[in-house]
C-alpha cells in the first residue's frame, strides 16, 4: 500500500516535529517553564493544541469507522459533546483557574477543600493518564499492525521514544508547538481524503443518494442493524422524509448503537464533556500556560470553532466509505480502504503522517500532564515542599522519562491481557471518575457551603457508583449473579457517568450540610464572581 515517497513524507514529518520539540527545550530553565511554558503561550497555538490533543490516532480511523457503522451520530462527540462546554469553559472556568495561578486541578481541590480530596483526585488522574499513555500506544500499534503489517513492539517503542524525547526536553511549550504542526498535518491529511472522496462521489447531494442506495443494498448486514433505526420488521431504514439513516445525528432511545439521544444529551453534553474540557488536567493545563487571561479565554473559543469542522474531516470520510462499499466485515478497515483507493502513492504518506501526528499529539500531552501531577501534587506536596524551581524541572523530566517506560511496559502487557477484559476496564477508566470530579469542581466554584468532608465522601461514593454500574453492565459479572445486564446499549459509559455525577452531587450536599462549614475567609476568594459590566 505504501511506497518510498510515502515513507519519505512520514520520516520528514517525524524528524521536523522532534527537532522543533528539542529546539524549544533548549530555552527551559525552571519547573514553571516546563509545566506551564513560563505562562507565555498565545491563544492560537493553545487552541490548535486543544483540538490536536483531543483527536487521538485511533480516532482518525476509529471515528471514521464508527461513522461507517453508526452514521453521523458519532459527530455528536465533536459538536454538542465539545462546543457548549468549551464556550462555558472559555468564559467561566478557564479564566478563573488562570487567575488562581494553579499548576493542576488537584491543587485547586486542596485550596478549596482539603488535602485528602487533592490526593484522591490526583491519584485518579495520575492512574488514568499513565494508563492512557499505554492504551494509546497499544491501540495505535495494534491498528497499524493490522493495516500496514508493522511490528507492534517496534511501533510502540518508536512512537514512545520520539514523543518522550521532545516532551522530556521541551515540556508544555514543546507539546503545544508540536501539537500545532501535528494539528495542521492531521486536519490537512483528513481534508485531503474528504475532498477527493466527495469529488469522486459527485458532491454532497450525491453522497446522500449513495448512502440511501448503500443502506438498501446492505439491509441484511450487521452494519445496518447497528444503526438501530430500521423498521422492526427489518424493512427499509431511511425515514419517510428520505433522510438516510447514516445521515441522522439524533438517534432514538432504543437504538442498538452506543449513541441514544439521552446518553448523548445527559451523559455527554451535560456531564462528560464539561468534565473533560473543564476538569481534565491534560486539556486545562495548556490554558494555564497562556500568556494572559484573554489568551486563555480566546484559546477555548478558537478551539470551539475548530471543533465545529472536525466531524467533516474525520466522520464524513466514514460515510463516503460506507456509500462506496457498504459490506466491509470490519469497520476499522473503512478509512484505510478508502485511503488506499482514493489517494495516489505519495499522498498516502500524508495520511499516515496525520495518523502518527494524532498519536504523538495525544501521547505527549498525557506524558506532560501526568508528570505535572506527579511533580506538583505528589512530589512537591508530600515529599519536598521546599524544592527549588530548578529541581522541579529535573523531577519533571525524570518523571516524564519514567512515564514513557511505564507506558511502553503497560502497552506490551495490555497486548497479552486484552482477552481478559482488563483492556475494557482501562478504556473506560476516565468515565469512572470524571463525573464525580466535575461535581466537586462545580460545587467548589459555585456553592459556598460545600466542604472538604462532603467533597471527599462524594468523590469516593461517585467513583464506587461508576465501578458498580460498570461491573453490572458486564455480561460475565451479571451471568455469575444470575441477572440481566443493567444497560441494554453497547458501552453504556455515558449513562454511568450521569449516575456517578448525581450520586456525588447528592453526597456532597447532604454531607456538607450535616458537617461543619469551611471558614469563610478560605472559601470566599475561591468562589466564582462575575465581573461587573464594562
Amino acid at each position: 500500500m505504501l511506497n518510498v515517497f510515502d515513507y519519505v513524507i512520514v520520516v520528514l514529518y517525524i524528524a521536523g516535529t522532534v527537532a522543533l520539540g528539542l529546539f524549544i527545550g533548549r530555552r527551559l530553565k525552571t519547573g514553571r517553564d516546563f509545566f506551564l511554558a513560563g505562562r507565555s503561550m498565545p491563544w492560537w497555538a493553545i487552541g490548535v493544541s486543544l483540538v490536536a490533543t483531543d483527536i487521538g490516532a485511533t480516532d482518525i480511523i476509529g471515528v471514521g469507522g464508527q461513522a461507517y457503522r453508526y452514521g453521523l451520530s458519532v459527530a455528536n462527540f465533536e459538536w454538542i459533546g465539545c462546543v457548549p462546554a468549551m464556550i462555558v469553559g472559555a468564559f467561566i472556568f478557564i479564566p478563573y483557574f488562570w487567575r488562581l495561578g494553579v499548576y493542576t486541578i488537584p491543587e485547586f481541590m486542596e485550596r478549596r477543600y482539603n488535602v485528602a480530596v487533592r490526593g484522591a483526585v490526583a491519584f485518579c488522574w495520575l492512574l488514568f493518564m499513565a494508563s492512557n499513555v499505554g492504551i494509546l500506544l497499544y491501540a495505535s500499534a495494534k491498528m497499524v499492525g493490522e493495516l500496514f503489517g508493522w511490528d507492534m513492539t517496534a511501533s510502540i517503542l518508536g512512537i514512545a521514544a520520539l514523543a518522550g524525547l521532545y516532551t522530556c526536553a521541551g515540556g508544555l511549550a514543546a507539546v503545544i508547538y508540536t501539537d500545532v504542526v501535528q494539528g495542521v498535518v492531521m486536519i490537512g491529511g483528513c481534508l485531503l481524503v474528504l475532498v477527493l472522496g466527495l469529488v469522486e462521489i459527485g458532491g454532497v447531494g450525491e453522497l446522500k443518494e449513495a448512502l440511501r442506495r448503500a443502506e438498501a443494498a446492505a439491509t441484511d448486514s450487521a452494519v445496518t442493524v447497528a444503526v438501530g433505526v430500521e423498521d422492526p420488521s427489518g424493512g427499509a431504514i431511511s425515514d419517510p422524509n428520505g433522510t438516510p439513516a447514516h445521515a441522522r445525528v439524533i438517534l432514538p432511545v432504543d437504538t442498538t448503537t452506543p449513541f441514544p439521544w439521552p446518553g448523548i444529551f445527559f451523559g455527554l453534553a451535560l456531564i462528560l464533556s464539561p468534565a473533560y474540557w473543564i476538569g481534565n488536567q491534560a486539556i486545562v493545563q495548556r490554558s494555564l500556560g497562556a500568556r494572559s487571561e484573554f489568551d486563555a479565554r480566546a484559546a477555548y473559543v478558537w478551539g470551539a470553532l475548530l471543533k465545529t469542522i472536525v466531524p467533516l474531516v474525520v466522520a464524513v470520510p466514514g460515510l463516503i466509505a460506507f456509500a462506496r462499499n457498504p459490506d466491509l466485515a470490519d469497520q476499522v478497515k473503512a478509512i484505510p480502504t478508502l485511503v488506499a483507493n482514493l489517494l495516489p502513492p505519495g499522498l498516502r504518506g500524508v495520511f499516515l503522517a496525520a495518523f502518527i501526528a494524532a498519536l504523538m499529539s495525544s501521547v505527549d500531552s498525557y506524558l506532560n500532564s501526568a508528570s505535572t501531577i506527579f511533580t506538583s501534587d505528589l512530589y512537591r506536596r508530600f515529599l519536598r515542599p521546599q524544592a527549588s524551581d530548578e529541581r522541579l524541572l529535573r523531577v519533571g523530566r525524570v518523571s516524564t522519562a519514567a512515564l514513557v517506560v511505564w507506558g511502553v511496559s503497560f502497552a506490551l502487557v495490555l497486548g497479552r491481557l486484552e482477552e481478559s477484559g482488563v483492556y475494557a476496564v482501562f478504556q473506560t477508566l476516565m468515565a469512572f471518575f470524571q463525573g464525580p470530579a466535575f461535581a466537586l469542581l462545580l460545587f467548589g466554584v459555585f456553592w459556598r457551603r460545600a466542604n472538604g468532608t462532603g467533597a471527599f465522601v462524594g468523590f469516593v461514593g461517585g467513583v464506587a457508583t461508576s465501578v458498580l454500574l460498570f461491573a453490572l453492565s458486564r455480561e460475565g459479572v451479571t451471568r455469575s449473579l444470575g441477572m440481566d445486564p443493567l444497560f441494554r446499549i453497547q458501552d453504556p459509559f455515558l449513562y454511568f457517568s450521569v449516575w456517578a455525577f448525581l450520586v456525588t452531587a447528592a453526597l456532597v450536599v447532604v454531607v456538607s450540610l450535616v458537617t461543619r462549614p469551611e471558614a469563610a475567609e478560605k472559601v470566599e476568594p475561591l468562589l466564582y464572581h462575575r465581573k461587573r459590566k464594562g
Binding site: 457548549p84 439524533i250 484573554f294 479565554r297 470551539a304 440481566d484 459590566k533
Partner: protein, 77 residues
C-alpha cells in the same frame, strides 16, 4: 429483575415517550441558551484589556458563530 433494573426500565419508558422532535428541541435549546448568555456577557469578559484588537479580539462574535453553527446543525441534521 432487581431494584436497579426497575429504576432503569421506568426511566427508559419515560424517555421513550419523548418524541424525536422533542429530543431535537433539547439539542437546539442548549447552544441557543448559551448563545443568548454569551451575547449578554459584559465586554470586559469578551475583549482584551487593551481593547484594541478589532474584530479579531471580539470573543463574543466568535463564540456566537460557534454556537450559532451548533443551533443550525441540530436544526438541519
Amino acid at each position: 429483575m432487581t431494584f436497579l433494573h426497575r429504576i432503569g426500565d421506568a426511566i427508559r419508558s419515560v424517555l421513550q415517550e419523548v418524541p424525536l422532535w422533542g429530543a431535537r428541541a433539547l439539542f437546539v435549546a442548549l447552544p441557543l441558551a448559551l448563545l443568548v448568555w454569551v451575547i449578554t456577557l459584559p465586554r470586559s469578559e469578551t475583549s482584551p484589556p487593551e481593547g484594541a484588537r478589532g474584530t479579531g479580539g471580539n470573543l463574543k462574535l466568535w463564540a456566537s458563530i460557534a454556537l450559532g453553527a451548533q443551533v443550525l446543525i441540530y436544526l438541519v441534521l
